[in-house]
Amino acid sequence: MMNREGRATTPGNAARPDAFQTHSGHRALVQEEPLIFELGRPGKIGVDLPEPKGTQSRLGNTARRGFIGLPDLSEPEVVRHYVRLSQKNFSIDTGMFPLGSCTMKHNPRLNEKMARLPGFADIHPLQPQETVPGAFEVMDELARWLKVLTGMPAVAMSPKAGAHGELCGLMAIKAAIEARGEKRTRILVPESAHGTNPATAALIGFTVDSIPATPRGRVDLAAMKAKLGPDVAAVMVTNPNTCGLFENEVREIADAIHGVGGYFYCDGANYNAIVGRVRPGDLGIDAMHINLHKTFSTPHGGGGPGAGPVVFSDALAPFVPLPYVVSEAGGHRLVEHASEDPAAKPFGRMVAFHGQMGMFTRALTYMFSHGADGLRQVAEDAVLNANYILASLKDVYNAPFAASGPCMHEALFDDTAFEGVTTLDIAKALIDEGFHPMTVYFPLVVHGAMLVEPTETESKETLDVFIASMRGLAEDARAGKVERFKGAPFLAPRARLDETAAARKPVLRWEPPKRAEAAE
């Protein structure tokens, strides 16, 4: 009997049209997905809850009237919707994410597992203190690691993110100055600083005075000294700085600011470059926030949550905000009110409850996993990877500070080597190459900046592919293959988006279609 089921098992040579359109609008693994509001249909439900009994209401005159307008869907529809959305995102787990200053390193899943232990995830911040000794132990142990690693004597655990930590640090400085009976109004901030630095200083009433950078990409010490005076409250310096360089005159900066009675705030966003190798406490720093979501790898989660504990010198330690854990003979105790610790002078409270516990457990797990040896290796490999990229690309991309020596954990380039192809074009072309773009147009002190931070969790093999792609793009740019850049990305779920239209006529929420409205 002849078998009639034979099918072609080689690709054949059928034409593959460029602008191939599907009937569904989907493109194989990339599914077009409407808004959840366009998918709902009355009569469906995604949770099974018991029927209310119809008890006499005690809401008084406040019972809600009318519909909210939420869509109704079943569980499989909701799951598919959000899984499809997830597939439109780039992530560390899918590819290299060399986003300078943001430290996109591997997020170990052990950290997720530990944070979800019911003993951490299923406890209430206001349940009786005697029922949560293990939670205070986590906070105290994390605080101990942070203090030992930084060589600083005190830490405020509650800030919710880096910028919140900056606010905490500056408020402690403000409190310390007021405690001395002084009034100081000015804060010096280098031009290359993160935008959060001047924003934070201005928020609490300080005047921001900008310090220029030297041609070597460091704080201009002479210019800084010229701006010092008895009205200067603090200097805010990022170290390693936003150009990816270590401020080699950091001790001189500390001495200068201390010499006029001010404080040294360090933006610790780049602490991952020196963890285990350099202690900020040895550099004369008075306060520094630590982004647990950078150095200690709590996941960025598409833009938070973060956590920004702040370490303090002896001078600022008494002003640490409420609440905080103290270690006593009988165990740990949480101080939630100034009256519970008469020796301290907390400047106030940054947040309801005690901080980002879910991030504390993740960061502590990361620390235990790495240990003192692993953390030092983290800094070394991060710096090694960045210098490897710098050394491998500086002949084809302009690297403005390469002449002044090695970089730290990130390598800085710009687009001055090219004509007609800009930093933005290279970033978008990199998407087609399968990489997340580097940080672009930051720091502001370098025109057309491209800040590349590989992190320690990229292998040499991946770095080599990245380097080859970057070199290829540089070659295309030099060869004038402008069309390869201007329309990029060609292969992403979306082409370049019209940000001008979005900003001119903001549409910030879904509205039901007009027809449906008329029918109601």
Binding site: I45, Y82, G276, V278, P437
Partner: protein, 448 residues
């Protein structure tokens, strides 16, 4: 070390390419005296198994909410979160992505933020909502600063029924920003005379509904008084589930609504991370803090989403920004969005009804206990009891009997005699009739 892919051979080869003799060469900019020659005094690296043992031992020392009859609220609430929520937020593409600054490869994040903003606007009855803030308390401070920018006035009045931690955050941050903050005394059902408290320098009044004692009320009369003085009314909430049963602040005259979204999707987490919900009238859009996601089209005309109006933000405006906020609470807003989508209109309103019934059933039992008085006649899922003796002693005794009975006045307002005997009790859909019977019996026993 399992997280570090470089081999020693790689490191040697890379140093050679760089032209450095050793790692020390790369740290040459660090002052000699500050270079650590040896490891810091902390333990060496550990395998997963060992780490799990240490962390597990600490976790085991805590009494979890699911293991006992649990009635603790006052700003954080125990609810059931559907399994698919935690599954989806742990997908790599959500968990390990960054702020969506490259929209072509971040439509997943951007689209759920757009859905989140829509949900928050609908729930609060407001016109626009942002893509989340850290939590309800920091959001309240942001709201007060925003009111000050809008009105160009410098004083804020905080109701005594606002959660004391929220009030403390506002006092700390807004006073440092140069505002005068007046916080009224904490009293349940107090009739605060805003007509005399609000003057022509007052930017806003902050009220909470349901308030920290659990009371619900119509805010419209307060809104009328406040607006009559040219000030704004900020309405805060700590229990977002209430919006499924209670008239939303936007329908009661609020200008800015801020609240905690933890109840939906997030879990207790000992206080964080949570998710701050923030909504306002359209006319105040440009003074809003935090990220905003907007709809647009791509070069091929396809609908897509981008972060927008970012000239308000710190990375562009620097010292002139509306806020210093950089991070939002991305992953928690995703959890919120998924849980809310699973609930839908029917599920969310039913969840609210079940919470209210659970609280009514509990109140009916506890108000009969000799010596106990129900202070708050109108409530959603939380109410306040007056006990015959200091509530923190009672809470301690209840915990000894394996019941977590609520938050005592002394925990929220230490040293305030007038509220020392008050106990704030929360009930939700997770409580069973058995839990309530146990609570009633334990309370009866403790008070007898």
């Amino acid at each position: 070390m399992r997280y570090l892919p470089l081999t020693d051979a790689d490191r040697r080869e890379m140093l050679a390419r760089i032209g450095a003799k050793s790692m020390d060469d790369l740290f040459a900019d660090v002052p000699e005296a500050a270079r650590l020659k040896s490891l810091v005094d902390l333990p060496r690296h550990k395998g997963e198994l060992e780490v799990e043992r240490i962390m597990g031992a600490m976790a085991a020392r805590n009494m979890t909410a699911s293991s006992v009859p649990f009635f603790v609220g006052a700003g954080a609430y125990k609810h059931h979160v559907p399994s698919s929520v935690d599954h989806i937020i742990q997908r790599s593409e959500f968990l390990t992505s960054y702020t969506p600054y490259q929209p072509e490869i971040a439509q997943g994040t951007l689209q759920y933020l757009f859905e989140f903003q829509t949900q928050v606007a609908l729930l609060t009855g407001m016109e626009v909502a942002n893509a989340s803030l850290y939590d309800g308390s920091t959001g309240t401070a942001e709201a007060v600063l925003m009111a000050s920018r809008i009105t160009r006035r410098n004083r804020a009045v905080l109701s005594g029924t606002l959660h004391p931690h929220y009030a403390a955050v506002v006092e700390t941050v807004c006073a440092a920003a140069g505002m005068e903050i007046v916080t009224l005394p904490a009293r349940p059902l107090s009739r605060e005379d805003f007509a005399t408290l609000v003057d022509d320098k007052t930017a806003c009044v902050v009220v909470q509904n349901p308030d920290v004692f659990g009371s619900v009320r119509d805010l419209s009369p307060i809104a009328d008084i406040v607006h009559g003085k040219g000030a704004l009314m900020i309405a805060a909430f700590t229990e977002v589930v209430s919006l499924g049963a209670v008239t939303p602040p936007g329908h009661m005259g609020a200008d800015i609504v801020v609240g905690e979204g933890q109840s939906i999707g997030v879990g207790l987490n000992f206080g964080g991370p949570y998710v701050g919900l923030f909504a306002a009238k359209q006319q105040y859009l440009r003074q809003m803090p935090g990220r905003l996601c907007g709809e647009t089209v791509d070069a091929d005309g396809r609908r897509g989403y981008v972060l927008t109006l970012s000239t308000r933000e710190q990375h562009i405006r620097r010292e002139k920004a509306t806020s210093n906020i950089c991070t939002n609470s991305g992953l928690m807003s995703l959890a919120f969005t998924i849980h809310m989508s699973l609930l839908g209109e029917r599920g969310f309103t039913r969840l609210a009804a079940l919470n209210h019934e659970a609280a009514c059933a509990l109140a009916s039992r506890l108000e009969k206990v000799p010596g106990v008085e129900l202070v708050t006649p109108h409530f959603f899922n939380e109410f306040t009891l007056r006990l015959p003796r200091p509530a923190h002693e009672v809470v301690h005794a209840l915990a000894g009997k394996g019941v977590l009975g609520g938050v005592p006045g002394a925990r929220l307002w230490p040293g305030e005699k007038a509220v020392e005997n008050l106990l704030v009790v929360a009930a939700t859909e997770v409580n069973t009739e058995t839990d309530r019977v146990k609570y009633e019996a334990a309370l009866t026993e403790v008070l007898s």
